[in-house]
Structures are given as structure tokens and as C-alpha cells.
């Protein structure tokens, strides 16, 4: 269930981003707290800093490069995660939310039934097409990647990949009324060999 235990490239990249930000934030927090403590103790070195240097140093020189570097990294990572057209198109799976269940269908596989378990082929990206019947829900499988909202009247796509065959858990992340907490689902990733049987043979 944990985003810190990624099982696919999207979740893994985001987890890396998190750890970089976490250590960076820890250093910055320690720095600010140290300066705060020093501002009370007032050794000569601190007391003689001119006011304008506090503003320029702490308010501009320290945060600006960090923020710009972080924004660029996040922008590039975000681009990489997008379900872009072109190249070999991943397989499409449809996820339809209603109160309070998910239904998954496989339009590209003739004869595949609609299932309550999301079956994915392991080791390849899949585009999940997310829609909603009634209110807003959100599709989230924390170990595979970020979430995307299911909004009535809209169609959203998220590209996810499970690296290894296995069972993962998904949940509805957008509050949708009384049954919100019961709206979990199971994701099963199968090896390519087993996949056809899995969606062909499912209910």
C-alpha cells in the first residue's frame, strides 16, 4: 500500500523525488532552526550581519536556486510520466467508478469480460482510462504511481506499469459519500503469458 515501496517506474521515480526533497528539507529546516537559536544567543558573528544581508541571503540566495532546480526536475519528471501519444501505444484499460465500486474493462481484447479486479500485464506500461458515473472519485494504486480523478462528464488517462507480477491494492482517493472507505480494489499483475487467460477467464 505504501508509496515508499514502489512497484513500478512511475511510483519509483516519485519516491526518488520524495527522498531528495525530504533530505533537502531536513537540511533547510536544521539550517533555519540553527539560525534562529543563534539569533537568540547572538555571537558577534551573527549580531554583526547587516539587516539587508539577512533578506538577500536567506530570502533570495538560499531559496531561489533550490526552487528553480526543483521546479525543473519536477517538470521533466512530470513530462516523462504523461501518457503521450507516439511510439508504441500501450494497451488501454478502462476503469469506471460508481458509488461505491470500480469496474474494469478491456476494450482492446475482444471477448474480455468486465471485472472487479484490475488485471494488468506486468512489465509493460498500460493506459488506464478513468471515468465516473455519478460523483467524483479518484483512481489510486499507491505502489504503482500517482492518482487521477474520475469525474462525471470527463475522461482522464493515467499511464502506469507494474514491474513484476503480483497483487497490489487500489483505493478511491476522492471523498464520494458514505461508502467512500469501502471503495477499494485489487490489482493483479500477470506475466504476459498468463495475462490473456486472466482477463479471458475472469467473471
Amino acid at each position: 500500500m505504501s508509496t515508499l515501496d514502489p512497484a513500478g517506474p512511475a511510483a519509483a521515480d516519485i519516491a526518488t523525488l520524495w527522498w531528495v526533497m525530504f533530505w533537502g528539507a531536513l537540511v533547510l529546516f536544521a539550517l533555519v532552526m540553527a539560525l534562529l537559536v543563534l539569533s537568540f544567543l547572538r555571537p558577534a558573528m551573527i549580531a554583526s550581519i547587516r539587516p539587508i544581508h539577512w533578506i538577500i541571503g536567506g530570502g533570495l540566495i538560499m531559496p531561489v536556486p533550490i526552487l528553480i532546480a526543483l521546479l525543473m526536475a519536477a517538470l521533466l519528471l512530470g513530462e516523462q510520466l504523461l501518457p503521450k501519444p507516439g511510439g508504441v501505444q500501450p494497451m488501454r484499460v478502462e476503469a469506471h467508478a460508481s458509488r461505491w465500486q470500480w469496474q474494469f474493462s478491456y476494450p482492446e481484447t475482444p471477448g474480455a469480460a468486465t471485472t472487479e479486479i484490475l488485471h494488468l500485464p506486468a512489465g509493460e506500461p498500460v493506459d488506464i482510462v478513468v471515468t465516473a458515473a455519478d460523483v467524483i472519485h479518484a483512481f489510486w494504486v499507491p505502489r504503482l504511481g500517482g492518482k487521477i480523478d474520475a469525474i462525471p462528464g470527463h475522461t482522464n488517462v493515467i499511464r502506469l506499469q507494474a514491474d513484476e507480477p503480483g497483487v497490489y491494492r487500489g483505493i478511491c482517493a476522492e471523498y464520494c459519500g458514505e461508502g467512500h472507505e469501502t471503495m477499494g480494489f485489487v490489482v493483479e499483475a500477470h506475466s504476459p503469458a498468463d495475462y490473456a487467460t486472466a482477463i479471458g477467464g475472469a467473471q
Binding site: 526552487l67 528553480i68 513530462e79 504523461l82 503521450k84
Partner: protein, 104 residues
């Protein structure tokens, strides 16, 4: 009020207008299905124009400050600081027009 406070507000008002302009350009380009290259060009032109407008405002304020000389108030100087900040904010906020995917 505007007569006196505009130096303080001009820069970030331009930033806000640039925001509306570029957000609308982004959206309408996708809505009308512009060719990606044309859409990108329009966005980048909008970005450069926004930067130019901010730079222009800064030059005007600097010229006014020089002309007023000792009659300049501290609000004039604060206004120049605000416009510089808005110029930097424009450069960063709308920098993504150069590369981010416009319609997905």
C-alpha cells in the same frame, strides 16, 4: 488610490495579466486543435511579450524615479522592488511555455 499606489501594483498586475493571457492561449490552442508548432510559437511569443511588458514597466519606473530625484518617495523605491520581483516571477512562472506539453 491607483494614482498613488500604482508603482506598487503595476508589476504584479502585469504578471496576473500574463497569467490570464497564457492560460487562455494554452486552453484555446487545445480547444481549437492548433498545430503543435503553431501553438508552441504562440505560447513562446506570449511569454516573451510578458517579459517585455514587465521590463518596460521597470524602465518606466526607473526613469520616473530619476526624474523625481529627491522628490521621490519611498513608495517609488518599494514599487521598483515589487516590479523587479514580478519580472522574476514572470520569468519563472511562465518558463514552462518553452517545453511542457500543452494539451496532455
Amino acid at each position: 488610490m491607483i494614482r498613488h499606489l500604482w508603482p506598487l501594483l503595476a508589476g504584479f498586475t502585469l504578471w496576473a495579466l500574463a497569467f490570464i493571457l497564457l492560460y487562455a492561449l494554452q486552453y484555446l490552442g487545445c480547444y481549437f486543435g492548433w498545430a503543435p508548432a503553431a501553438h508552441r510559437t504562440a505560447l513562446v511569443v506570449g511569454y516573451v511579450m510578458s517579459l517585455a511588458a514587465l521590463a518596460g514597466a521597470l524602465l518606466v519606473q526607473l526613469a520616473l524615479l530619476r526624474r523625481r530625484g529627491s522628490a521621490a518617495t519611498s513608495l517609488d523605491r518599494i514599487g521598483i522592488g515589487a516590479t523587479i520581483a514580478a519580472l522574476a516571477a514572470t520569468a519563472v512562472t511562465f518558463g514552462p511555455t518553452l517545453l511542457a506539453s500543452a494539451c496532455i
